[in-house]
């Protein structure tokens, strides 16, 4: 019989079990420390909840006692800010949060931005953006120059937009597909009006994905003043852009101008006819039926299905026509 490494394997298993035992001890100690931090954070909140309320509502300046002393207290302050920002935010409150964060939290997040842990860096970026810590704008720009993940890249763009809106479009006109469509939309939606206007006026220079997102956002914003811009896009040679522009017109929720509707009803593209079918529901019944008749025998099931709501009225009109002819 060949010699088997039983001793080695036994040693290996014993070593691994010993290691797991040590990890268990470490885990429990780490948990105890976390629980202690959570207790410290709650104690901080209990002590200072009223003072925070008075400060953030503008009744009194922030006293030195509010400055967090350690990680636990920083997390307590974060919870206070998050809670107020989510529920009661106003410009004055945001300014007070920014001021306090710049003074007392910037150092903490500066360290986190340099962390090798991705979660720590991303959490810091979230807080810098949420609390408006512009004292760290330069640190964020330094981070942006390094190779970062898609999530960090997007968060850095939001921060750049918030802290330096002037020239934002110029700096980021070509994102080279670095961010997703959803992120594109969010970025465009959060743009101040002037920045958004600049992006819209330079539509042709934007990446295709950003162009599509911009048109979607125009629909979301439901700004009637944008109708002429959208109408112009309906003549685009890019089919996708045309469909999205039509969808944005539909999203405005108004009675669609006849010219647009006529072109959409006669379009060779089923998506455009589908949107037209949705648009005609907002017309008075007699006009809607005029368009619906054209679409009633459409080759696309989805277009026909969209007209279902008008079904009984369509049938009635058909009967009336037949009666008149008869």
């Amino acid at each position: 019989m060949i010699g088997l490494p039983v001793g080695w394997v036994l040693g290996g298993v014993a070593f691994l079990l010993g290691l797991l035992l040590l990890l268990t001890v470490y885990l429990f100690i780490a948990r105890a420390a976390e629980e202690k931090r959570a207790r410290r954070a709650s104690a901080y909140l209990e002590r200072h909840a009223a003072a925070w309320f008075r400060h953030l509502r503008g009744f009194e300046p922030a006293g030195n006692e509010l400055a967090p002393q350690d990680r636990a207290e920083v997390s307590a302050v974060e919870e206070v800010f998050r809670s107020y920002l989510n529920n009661l935010a106003g410009e004055g409150m945001q300014n007070r949060i920014r001021e306090f964060s710049n003074r007392h939290l910037a150092g903490f997040y500066r360290k986190k931005l340099k962390s090798r842990n991705w979660s720590d860096r991303l959490n810091a970026l979230y807080r810098i953006h949420d609390f408006g810590i512009d004292a760290l704008a330069e640190d964020c720009r330094a981070l942006a120059r390094r190779e970062v993940s898609q999530e960090e890249r997007f968060q850095l763009l939001l921060i750049d937009l918030a802290f330096r809106p002037d020239g934002f479009v110029d700096r980021n006109i070509r994102l080279n597909g670095n961010i997703s469509e959803v992120e594109n939309k969010e970025l465009l939606f959060r743009m101040p009006e002037a920045v958004f206007d600049e992006a819209a006026s330079r539509l042709d220079e934007l990446e295709k994905d950003t162009q599509y997102a911009l048109v979607d956002v125009l629909g979301m914003k439901q700004d009637l003043a944008r109708l002429p811009f959208l109408e112009k896009l309906l003549g685009s040679t890019d089919q996708e852009l045309r469909i999205r522009a039509l969808r944005a017109v539909d999203a405005l929720g108004i009675r669609t101008p006849d010219g647009i509707l006529r072109r959409a009803v006669d379009s060779p593209v089923w998506q455009e006819r589908f949107i037209a079918a949705r648009m005609i529901r907002r017309l008075p019944e007699s006009e809607a039926l005029r368009y619906a008749e054209k679409l009633a025998g459409d080759e696309s099931w989805l277009v026909r299905e969209e007209l279902r709501g008008l079904g009984p009225a369509l049938e009635r009109r058909q009967l009336e026509k037949e009666a008149a002819l008869g």
Partner: protein
Amino acid sequence: MNQALEWIMLFFGGLIFAYMLVVIVAYSLMFLFAFLELKKQRRLDRRELDERFVDAFYSKPVSILVPAYNEEAGVVASIHSLLNLDYPQTELLVIDDGSKDGTAALVIGRFDMVPAEKPMLPQLQTKPVKEVYRSRIHPNLWLIRKENGGKGDALNVGINFARYPYFCTIDGDSILDTRSLLRVMKPIMTSNGKVVAAGGNVRIVNGLTVDYGAVDDVRLSGRALVVMQVVEYLRAFLMGRIALSKFNMVLIISGAFSVFSKKFAIAAGGYNTTTIGEDMEMVVKIQRFLKEQKLDNRVEFVPDPVCWTEAPQSLSILRRQRRRWHQGLLESLWAHRRMTFNPKYGTVGMISFPYFWLVECFGPVIELGGYIYVILAFFMGGIYYEYAVLLMLLFILYGTVFSIGSVLLESWSLNAFPKRRDVLRMMALSFTEVVWYKPLTLVWRIEGLIRSMFRISSWGEMERVGATTKGASK
């Protein structure tokens, strides 16, 4: 004679030993990848992302499909949990697959439903639909009653009726955490549609209190059999799927909780209505479709979003479940056997398929052989003791060490069971796994293997099953 016996023992001993080494190396690598991934995400404040995607402007609408067959006991809690989801735009389609109990009546009564019309595009062939109801309390809740055709058929009906471009499948007895759908949709939303299917983490609900569809106070069940399954789920989901997902090699995402792009699911042919493991079959079909069309889309597993599901509490039900899972596994592997070692299918064909064949499918035969070998070797005594001891040690390494490691990894990264006592209990039971739970599941899986092998020649005559959730692959 003695010489021949010695050679046979040596041969099988060597074979089992080599297999164990391969598995241990594979598991160690998967453990390492899971550790690195969880370490990266461990401290992330997920609320930030949740809050962003909870806004309808940025999320994609989802049709939630709940196939139900005799789910009277759990369907109402499940619907409540789905109605409570933090997700901006969903429609909820409960598909009653010809239940014999009062599932439909219960849902109609509890949610004040009335007959209604719902547009459907018949893109997949299904059994006839009998009636469609819509809730007057929750207008986005629908009940579709159809003839019994199996879970796959019920899901196909759901796809035909689904209004939105993505659909999420949930078992009729499963409970979702409120933010689970947001989190499982995140890779789909941020990848510009590159991720075409995503599955979440499934955990066991036994022993927990469920109040109006929400899980209260997570604690471990008092039953050893259930705790062992909890550990098994942790190990399978955290260790196996994270690593496979990282390299786009996932072949299974749980049917209990997964999201698919409707376009890709239909392009892949929809759910198979004759196979037992329709969830695995769907993922394999999508992977196959992607590779054949040379598309770079992905299937992902997301460890954080949690779906709670009920685990069998008795040996007989657990046996049936494991037998069915294994049958489903073999059927899917067999149906797509030409992908094995086929470079055309990339890492799925070259790594996933061989791994699933060797470790997941035929592994139980070798492992049970190992147990028998250990017993024989002890009886034969002498030089075979060494082999027996060595194999036992490898079993401990393979079973106990990885199980305890998974419990610790979970506890460190996701902390689903915050009580220290629960963690210690899971670890203590992991020590006993190799002597009772493991051999039992091996026998059941081999039973499934044998049953499948006899049925492979009569592929088209597969016995139809209802859209049961208890026995479906997790």
